[in-house]
């Protein structure tokens, strides 16, 4: 290709190809689980239904990792930790907890904080805190001062779910609580129980990865 026009065309094509490759690369790295909206009920009230599984299984890119899932409008479980809820509203949250007990290192986090009434229900029983040793995970949004400890399935429970997808017929705890949202914003939530099995001191891996034990609460 000896003409100037040919050379310009070759360089232009090369630039476009490189730019496309860079775009693909960055898009791959910035890809995030989908944001799932809470299901609206009446007035300013919505329902957010979650579950936690000890190993997410083939639903996730890292099958052995502990993870949260969320129920979408169709009633399907979606592997995501990005939730969208309306501003200035009540959010009823239900968590089906299939993971076992691993214990809190900081007992302070065993107290329910930031929910309506600073309480929650565990298997239908109203509670303001749980024994720290029974905690499996927390649903915590530090910027909203919200901390909800999630008790784990007892060690001797029958029919435990080891790998996802877990079914409600298997051993689980049911936790419900209500939060009142304020101004719109994007708030980070995460689990504060070092629950990353197989990782040093329980940290790393799913504990730091969006889509597993870490995500965003989008208040819009």
């Amino acid at each position: 290709m000896s003409s100037i026009g040919g050379r310009v065309a070759a360089v232009a094509v090369a630039v476009v190809v490189v730019a496309a490759l860079i775009g693909f690369y960055v898009a791959n790295l910035t890809s995030s689980p989908p944001t799932v909206s809470a299901q609206s009920t009446t007035g300013n009230t919505v329902e957010l239904t979650l579950k936690t599984e000890a190993a997410v299984g083939p639903q996730g890119g890292n099958p052995p990792w502990v993870s949260y899932l969320v129920k979408d409008d169709q009633g399907d479980w979606v592997h995501s930790t990005n939730f969208k809820v309306p501003a200035h509203s009540l959010v009823h949250v239900t968590v089906y907890q299939f993971d076992g007990e691993s214990g809190l290192r900081n007992p302070f986090l065993s107290q329910v904080q930031g929910t309506v009434g600073d309480t929650m229900t565990v298997d239908g029983k109203l509670m303001g805190s749980i024994p720290p040793d029974e905690a499996s995970h927390t649903f915590a949004v530090p910027q909203l001062n919200l901390i909800v400890p999630l008790p784990g399935v007892h060690e001797d429970a029958e029919n435990q779910c080891e790998d996802g997808p877990c079914d409600l017929s298997q051993a689980h705890r049911t936790i419900t609580f209500t939060i009142r949202t304020g101004e719109p914003g994007r708030y980070r939530w995460q689990c504060f129980v070092p629950c990353a099995a197989g990782f040093l001191a329980g940290f790393g891996g799913p504990m730091q990865t969006i889509g597993y034990m870490d995500g965003f609460l989008e208040v819009a």
């Binding site: 790295l29 052995p64 040093l200 790393g204 969006i210």
Partner: protein, 628 residues
């Protein structure tokens, strides 16, 4: 490629032993290994949908992909022919057009160009990762990539730069110019020379596949027990570094054999160009250090795939052992990166200072001294890892002692510049910047070799600033000096001096603006490899990120210069545009396949500038050698 072959249509030329064939067989080999691994590892037979990590399958996939890649390139033809008793030529694809750059070629000049382009590609990918890292650090909490992908980016950047750039100078420049400098026709083992390049490219491609398997969280050091806990993506790290180690080892062996056995008559050790001293000392480090890395990675691979426990404390192994093995390779590797820079700087300085290299023997002693001492300092990386405290003083003093031979190199360089009539060409500017950067890198290194200050700064941005000053400020500035200096011989065209100077000043200023503040950030407590930081450090981080983006833009200026000069302007380079006395510049441009019409006989030193008569240098269009 013969003229008959060139006459064939393009699609027909694409079929055969070349890069395309290598890629096809490489991909096929991967799937074969993946399938085989699942047959062996019977727990999970589902392709890509299994719930267990089948490291055996992935590792076998990588093994067979590399084997297939090399077969596709044509590396099996020669040994197979010899095994079948057939005679084959010792050369491969040395004649012909541009097709020889995309396959196995035994011409050292082609391999040098292949290295320059291949390493350049991965250097820019590594640089792109650095830009993404700094984009994430514009804010105190993760907003763009998340913590997991951030760690993968940091790991990819560090691993790629530290792995690929080990051959950053020896690959392109020593392969191309050492035979010319010593008056040889070729390298000692041309096929080995070729395979070192293609192994490196296979390694780079394998490392990038980590993105498909979840990345890896360990940074470039790959410490235990993180390396055992990490998901699938870490297997690519193992194979990347193992292949890089293999490539380094073979490259080093070939270089040592070439310099020892193939020097022209009269080229005594005391007349050997200083760049060749840099190359041979680097090669010795490569040959001695790389096997340790390969062995350590093999053990990690076994720990992950077949449940051995070399490095797992829970099963009687020792994570500390991995740190020792890694740094026994890792610290000499730092000098694998630095020593070629020494050679380049001292090679180029006399040309543009128009003076003999001051203290040639002192400079050689400095280079060899650094190489020797580099094997006795590795445990300074382990001061806070549980190292027996009674060993600390030895490693502290051995590390600090390395500044003595380094000082000899500085002395030789500085004294060469003393009262010189310096020509401030682009290569010379990069050389002068090297002194500034490497001095800061070396001086800050004293704080890290000193136990009390290392304990305070270990794992912080201070460490990161230090090694970027030594490796980027040292190696990469020398790398660019070499590019601007030798590209006229390699490609037969001159790079634009004006764009080169813009590139230099932008890079030099932005480099210092990026990395000097990292010393402060480190002292203020910002740790490495952590995506979050205290909000009061945000302004300085923004400054660093913006500077890093300018640094990245300076690389685009360089790319623009390459495209402008090599694609559009194509200003022909004279045979010896810098009036150098070194042997490689006495050849015609482009350099003939045979290098020299007849074997040269050396009867002068390469740096006798101003010492009449100067028989080797033909009168050129540029400035004549300065008297005295």
């Amino acid at each position: 490629m013969s003229s008959e072959a060139l006459a064939r249509p393009l699609w027909r030329r694409l079929i055969g032993f070349n890069l395309l064939g290598g890629i096809v067989l490489g991909v096929a080999g991967f799937y074969f290994g993946w399938w085989l691994g699942h047959q062996i590892h019977a727990e999970s037979l589902d392709f890509f949908g299994d719930t267990n990590q089948n490291d055996v399958a992935l590792m076998l996939g990588y093994v067979f992909s590399v084997v297939g890649f090399l077969i596709g390139l044509g590396f099996a033809r020669y040994p197979l022919a010899r095994m079948l008793g057939k005679e084959r030529t010792h050369t491969e694809n040395e004649h012909g057009g541009s097709g020889r750059y995309f396959g196995l070629c035994t011409d050292h000049k082609v391999v040098g160009v292949q290295y320059l382009c291949g390493i350049g590609l991965f250097f820019f990918i590594g640089g792109l990762n650095a830009m993404l890292i700094r984009a994430e650090l514009l804010q105190p909490s993760p907003q763009i990539f998340g913590a997991g992908n951030y760690l993968t980016l940091v790991g990819l950047h560090g691993t790629m730069m530290m792995g690929i750039m080990t051959s950053g100078v020896l690959g392109p420049f020593a392969n191309y110019f050492v035979p010319l400098m010593i008056g040889a026709r070729r390298m000692a083992f041309p096929r080995v020379e070729a395979i070192t390049f293609w192994l490196l490219m296979a390694a780079g491609a394998i490392l990038m596949t980590t993105l498909f398997f979840g990345g890896f969280p360990t940074g470039w050091t790959g410490y235990a027990p993180l390396n055992d806990q990490a998901n699938f993506g870490f297997d690519s790290y193992i194979f990347f570094f193992a292949l890089v180690g293999l490539s380094m080892m073979l490259l080093g062996l070939n270089m040592i054999a070439t310099i020892i056995t193939m020097r022209a008559p009269g080229l005594t050790w005391s007349r050997l160009p200083i760049f060749c001293w840099g190359a041979i000392s680097t090669s010795i480090l490569m040959v001695l250090a790389a096997p340790v890395l390969i062995a350590a990675l093999l053990m990690v691979g076994f720990d992950r795939a077949v449940q051995t426990s070399f490095f797992l404390s829970s099963a009687g192994g020792s994570p500390y052992l991995f740190q020792n093995l890694f740094w026994f390779f890792g610290h000499p590797e730092v000098y694998v990166l630095a020593l070629p820079g020494f050679g380049i700087i001292l090679e180029i300085l006399p040309v543009f200072a128009r003076k003999p290299l001051w203290g040639y023997r002192i400079a050689v002693a400095g280079i060899l001294g650094v190489a020797l001492l580099s094997f006795f300092v590795w445990q300074h990386h382990l001061f806070v890892s549980g190292l027996n405290s009674s060993l600390r003083p030895f490693y502290m003093f051995s590390t600090e002692a390395i500044s003595v031979p380094t000082g000899l190199v500085f002395l030789a360089g500085m004294a060469t510049l003393w009262r010189a009539k310096i020509r401030y060409t682009v290569p010379m500017l990069f050389c002068l910047a090297w002194f500034f950067n490497f001095f800061i890198g070396g001086a800050s290194g004293v704080f890290l070799s000193d136990v009390p200050s290392d304990v305070a700064t270990h794992g912080s941005f201070f460490v990161m600033a230090h090694f970027h000053y030594t490796i980027m400020g040292g190696l990469i500035f020398a790398f660019f000096a070499a590019i601007y200096y030798w590209v006229p011989k390699m490609f037969g065209v001159m790079l634009s001096e004006r764009l080169g100077k813009i590139h230099f000043w932008a890079m030099f200023i932005a480099f210092n603006s990026t990395f000097a503040p990292l010393f402060a950030l480190g002292l203020m407590g910002q740790p490495r490899r952590v995506v979050t930081y205290p909000s009061h450090l945000e302004p300085l981080n923004i400054w660093v990120s913006v500077s890093a983006f300018v640094l990245g833009a300076s690389m685009l200026v360089f790319l623009a210069n390459v495209v402008y000069s090599l694609v559009f302007v194509r200003k022909p380079a004279p045979d010896n545009p810098w009036d150098s006395r070194s042997l490689e510049w006495q050849t015609p441009t482009p350099v003939p396949i045979e290098n020299f019409e007849r074997r040269p006989i050396i009867d002068t030193d390469p740096y006798d500038y101003g010492v009449p008569p100067v028989p080797l240098v033909p009168p050129g269009p540029a400035e004549a050698p300065a008297p005295g």
